[in-house]
């Protein structure tokens, strides 16, 4: 099974003459967790709706396990996956009947149905809720019932739109734990939309950043994955190639981001209070109007922004050796 769970080619969606989604190519690997991240209106929900076959693309192709969805029986494909809406809707009946809904649609017999319902309610920590009325539940409980309702289907793909947007902090932890466990135990491919960068990096194996309907290279620049090392009383973040001093005194950091504007560039090492200083070589130069974006290879490739004036005065160019300096407090941690 070396096919992708999903493959997208030249996909666009146009609403009222406005392109809301434009993805030239995207692949989703089986058994991974993907975080589709971006602000409101970035196209996250549209992407999820198209992957779950609720919306048809304006142009382009979507392949599900190598099958062109335009040529497949959509009803059959829909039964292999499920989408949990941002504000899940529970049918105005009991929790049990809600969770049973998709199983009935698949013609699963009563005994098996009962077994799966119990199993999945337990998984989301709602055992004993079977006879409760769905409209009497709290936001977090509603979200969990919706997830249980999705899980009973044993889907190959679980799509979730902002699964924790409307739940309290404690429920967020519970839900994230459930999603991780599902992915690890059953190998379910999970694609979740979120506007919370921390959540995206906490959960996802891969993050898809959307901005204005397009996939952005990186939502936050100079983003590195790694772990925290302690040297005496200094907290260092080790990316594997470089060690960056960070301010928050915690070990629970898995990603850092260095804002390009926060980095000072110089020809010679400068003596300042900033804890981070690296030497490197300019690898790439891109003109951005008033400013110039430089990519400096300092062990890791770091993107740095300088004004056009400084760029010219300093006579910088590809291959120039420079020093990069930035404060530990400017490093964002996730």
């Amino acid at each position: 099974m070396d096919t992708f769970q999903f493959e997208i080619r030249d996909l666009t969606k146009v609403y009222n003459g406005k392109t809301v989604l434009d993805i030239p190519h995207l692949t989703i690997k089986k058994g991974s967790i993907y975080g589709a991240m971006g602000p409101n209106g970035s196209g996250k929900t549209t992407l999820l709706s198209m992957l779950s076959l609720l919306l048809s693309p304006t142009s382009g192709k979507i392949y599900f396990e190598g099958i062109d969805i335009d040529e497949a029986d959509k009803h059959v494909l829909r039964q292999k996956m499920t989408l949990v809406l941002q504000n899940p809707f529970l049918f105005s009946t009991t929790v049990e009947k809600n969770v049973a809904y998709g199983l009935k649609a698949r013609g699963i017999e009563k005994g098996e149905r009962k077994k799966r319902i119990m199993e999945c309610l337990e998984l989301v920590g709602l055992e004993g809720f079977e006879k409760r009325r769905a409209d009497e539940l709290s936001g977090g409980e509603t979200q969990r019932v919706a997830i249980a309702r999705a899980l009973t289907l044993y889907p190959k793909v679980l799509l979730l739109d902002e699964p924790t947007a409307n739940v309290d902090r404690r429920s967020v932890d519970v839900l994230e734990g459930i999603l991780k466990e599902l992915n690890q135990r059953f190998g379910i491919t999970i694609i979740l939309a979120t506007h919370d960068i921390n959540q995206a990096y906490r959960l996802a194996d891969e993050v898809i950043s959307l901005f204005g309907g397009k996939i952005a290279k990186s939502p936050v620049e100079n983003l590195f994955k790694g772990r925290v090392l302690r040297e005496k009383d200094i907290f260092l973040f080790d990316t594997g190639r470089i060690k960056v001093a960070i301010l928050p005194e915690t070990d629970e950091v898995s990603h850092i981001s260095i804002p390009p504007e926060a980095v000072i560039i110089s020809h010679e090492p400068i003596s300042t209070s900033a804890r981070n200083s690296f030497s490197g070589e300019i690898y790439q130069v891109a003109d951005g109007g008033d400013s110039v974006t430089l990519v400096v290879d300092a062990g890791e490739k770091l993107t740095v922004k300088v004004t056009k004036k400084s760029f010219q005065e300093m006579r910088l160019n590809v291959g120039s050796r420079v020093y990069l300096t930035f404060k530990s407090s400017s490093v964002e941690v996730f």
């Binding site: 779950s52 609720l54 009803h75 829909r78 039964q79 499920t82 989408l83 949990v84 809406l85 504000n87 899940p88 809707f89 049918f91 105005s92 009946t93 009991t94 809904y101 998709g102 009935k104 649609a105 698949r106 009325r133 309702r149 999705a150 289907l153």
Partner: protein, 230 residues
């Protein structure tokens, strides 16, 4: 004033003595209206649902037409049905004129637009997530439709009850196509009209009370069902 009090007293006597003529009239009214509403629901709910959930050219006009038809004058319906089933009419050979069946047809025509129009608004009032949720859970088109109707069930019950309220209380159509034949096509409303014209207030009042009681019970039943909630 005196004769009204006397009328009420006499009416109560008639009701509690289970007067066989009154009993027969009430039974016929209920029978005709129940059959008509059953048939109206059978056609009106699917039609209303289809109009409610689908998008097509001329939908607004169609909805307006059904809304207008909710106030279809009963005598006009009576006239229409009469012209079709009278001996010279296209359905004349069926011999329907002045039969309970003719009244069922008339009441069917009166109730269906009400049920259609109220079903349209009931399905349009349903949360759009119902359809999406059903689809994401793998429901086919039929199951999705049934789910939407099930979510709209209280509004649908209200639609059916509104239709019943209209036909059980109408007099024009039943009079024209039923003929108000004693012991055969005499309903509560036609009887009240006749007895009042004859000066038999007590008889008319007794039927009036029963008619009110029926309307009241049906609404009470609806209210009870809605408060019971599943």
């Amino acid at each position: 004033m005196e004769y009204i009090v006397e009328g009420i007293r006499h009416a109560l006597r008639l009701i509690f003595s289970l007067d066989s003529e009154i009993f027969g009239i009430v039974l016929l009214s209920l029978k005709v209206s129940t059959i008509a509403i059953f048939l109206s629901s059978l056609t009106g709910v699917p039609v209303g649902f289809f109009i409610g959930v689908s998008e097509f050219w001329g939908k607004k006009l169609l909805v307006t037409i059904f809304n207008t038809l909710m106030a279809f004058p009963t005598v006009v319906v009576g006239l229409l049905v009469y012209s079709f089933i009278s001996r010279q009419g296209p359905l004349g050979p069926l011999g329907l004129l002045f039969t309970p069946r003719a009244m069922v047809i008339g009441q069917f025509i009166l109730a269906t637009p009400i049920i259609v129009a109220l079903t349209i608004s009931a399905t349009q009032g349903i949360d759009p997530r119902v359809k999406i949720t059903a689809m994401t859970l793998g429901a086919g088109p039929l199951r999705t439709a049934v789910t939407i109707l099930s979510e709209a069930r209280f509004a649908l019950m209200a639609a059916v009850v509104a239709g019943f309220g209209r036909v059980i209380a109408e007099v024009g159509c039943a009079m024209m196509v039923g003929g108000n034949i004693r012991g055969y096509t005499r309903t509560m409303t036609t009887a009240i009209a006749l007895e009042t014209a004859k000066g038999e207030f007590a008889f008319g009042l007794a039927l009036g009370f029963i008619l009110l009681a029926v309307a009241f019970s049906v609404n009470l039943l609806l209210h009870w069902l809605q408060s019971k909630r599943d």
